[in-house]
């Protein structure tokens, strides 16, 4: 028995970047994996166990590999309006929004979170694998009186996610937590370290992300784990991070989003504000809205036994019509689910499609998204 196709491949950490917590993960016995050029933990106690812990209690993730880009200046807003899809002018001080860095073809250079400190001061959280690309893109398109800085090395980042996360963070953070609503952030001191605490996350649960200077990362990590131990807080790796976000139907760059897919095709029309004024890709999106999409992202669950994996072919009536972008056996929902691109005319909840699972055809049914929505 060997891995015909390992979806998270393992390689020696020779030239890989490491977060400030690398030693801690290895000390916890984490299975490590290469991700976007980083040596990261994929699992500690098992993907299923970690996934279920986040849905029922809480999980702690080291997401320090993510990138942070600061944008400041009298025309910081204008620069961000030009390069992103969402309406940055709607943000109030200490508010955040999900958005995309745009390309003139209407596709995403990356998806990101935009945070506003004030009218002339913002920061973006971007994907680890795209940080350098994103920064270069912003700089290249910066014809404004504003400055962008890649401050990724100045931040470690932890995500605390799950229904118990508010109870746990309350023991750790000196901050006004009562007033911190979902998708807002504040200055906070946790474990004696000053940083930013955002009520954001990628799991579909309530949760927080703490951005802070890396020098005391181990202390912060250990204090978080200790504070949450009685509530069932466990460390969680990239394996469960992926199954959690997939149940919540969140996009993963390189799968649902890439340079050949427009935001409308990826079901992200809700973060496109065509009325905000001109921006990179606006014209291409308007054009596409008129002429029609080339493909549409849908969610499905398998009817037949099996698991649909990333890249498997989608067929209708025996004809190949698209691909699975992300697929897995969902640990909480206990069924095989996935996202796939199909021709727009074939996209309809309830309609059946076939997935080619390594030569065998398996029936699937299109279902509404998200697959999982938290009730608490």
């Amino acid at each position: 028995m060997y891995s015909e196709r390992d979806f998270l491949s393992v390689s020696a950490p020779v030239n890989l970047k490491r977060t400030a917590l690398n030693r801690v993960h290895r000390g916890l016995g984490a299975r490590m994996v290469e991700f976007g050029g980083w040596d990261m933990p994929v699992e500690y106690s098992g993907i299923t166990h970690e996934h279920l812990a986040v849905r029922s209690a809480a999980g702690l993730f080291d997401v320090s590999h993510m990138g942070e880009i600061e944008v400041r200046g009298p025309e910081a807003l204008a620069l961000l309006q030009w390069v992103t899809s969402n309406d940055v002018a709607r943000l109030k001080d200490f508010q955040a929004q999900y958005s995309a860095l745009m390309d003139p073809r209407g596709s995403a250079v990356d998806d990101c979170l935009v945070h506003r400190f004030g009218p002339e001061h913002y920061f973006l959280c971007v994907n680890a694998s795209n940080t350098d690309k994103d920064f270069a893109w912003i700089v290249r398109n910066n014809r404004f009186n504003a400055e962008a800085r890649n401050v990724s090395v100045d931040y470690s980042q932890l995500a605390l996610q799950g229904p118990k996360s508010m109870a746990i963070i309350s023991r750790l953070a000196r901050a006004d937590l009562a007033g911190l609503r979902y998708y807002w952030f504040c200055h906070a001191t946790c474990c004696g370290v000053e940083g930013l605490l955002a009520r954001t996350g990628y799991t579909g649960e309530d949760g927080f992300e703490f951005y802070f200077p890396p020098s005391e990362s181990e202390k912060v990590w250990n204090e978080f784990l200790e504070a949450g131990r009685a509530d069932g807080l466990v460390p969680v790796g990239l394996g469960a991070r992926n199954t959690l976000r997939l149940e919540a139907a969140y996009a993963l760059y390189g799968h649902e989003l890439d340079e050949e897919t427009t935001l409308l095709e990826a079901n992200l029309g809700w973060i496109v504000k065509l009325d905000k004024g001109d921006f990179l890709g606006r014209e291409a999106l308007l054009h596409q809205r008129e002429r029609g999409l080339r493909k549409k992202l849908v969610g499905f669950e398998l009817i037949d036994r099996g698991i649909a994996r990333d890249g498997y072919e989608v067929r209708i009536g025996g004809r190949a019509v698209g691909r699975v972008t992300s697929g897995t056996h969902a640990p909480f929902l206990r069924k095989s689910i996935g996202l796939a691109f199909v021709p727009p005319e074939a996209a309809a909840v309830g309609r059946e499609i076939d997935i080619d699972i390594r030569g065998k055809s398996a029936r699937a049914r299109q279902v509404p998204l998200p697959f999982y929505k938290r009730q608490h």
């Binding site: 028995m1 891995s3 015909e4 994929v42 699992e43 098992g46 036994r305 099996g306 897995t328 056996h329």
Partner: protein, 129 residues
Amino acid sequence: MYPQEFLYTKEHEWIRVDEEVGTVGITDFAQKELGDVVFVELPKVGDHVTAGESFGTVESVKAVSELFAPVDGEVIGVNSKLQNSPEMLNADPHGEAWLIRIRLADRRDTEKLLSADEYEAYIAEKKSD
């Protein structure tokens, strides 16, 4: 730690032979490498299996792996409990979570397989890679 009465393959299957009937499973090393098993696909009773060729798959959350037959034979039993409880493979790979039982075509096929000591040496080498 690896049962002495089993024989092993380099692809991490084990076989316990009683007369001309062999019980086949995957090793503890294999289930650890896989992670949480969520799906198992096995042949039907009456199917033929060929030494070194795939007879099914086992899937974890993050990977798909083929199962290779240690010897030639005919499937005379399939562990149906694994369909509803694939996680048994992680819990008891050498016992309750056997995969198939086969009638060996030729008992001498087992001569090519590894003993428990040889298998342990083999995986010790792999771990240090």
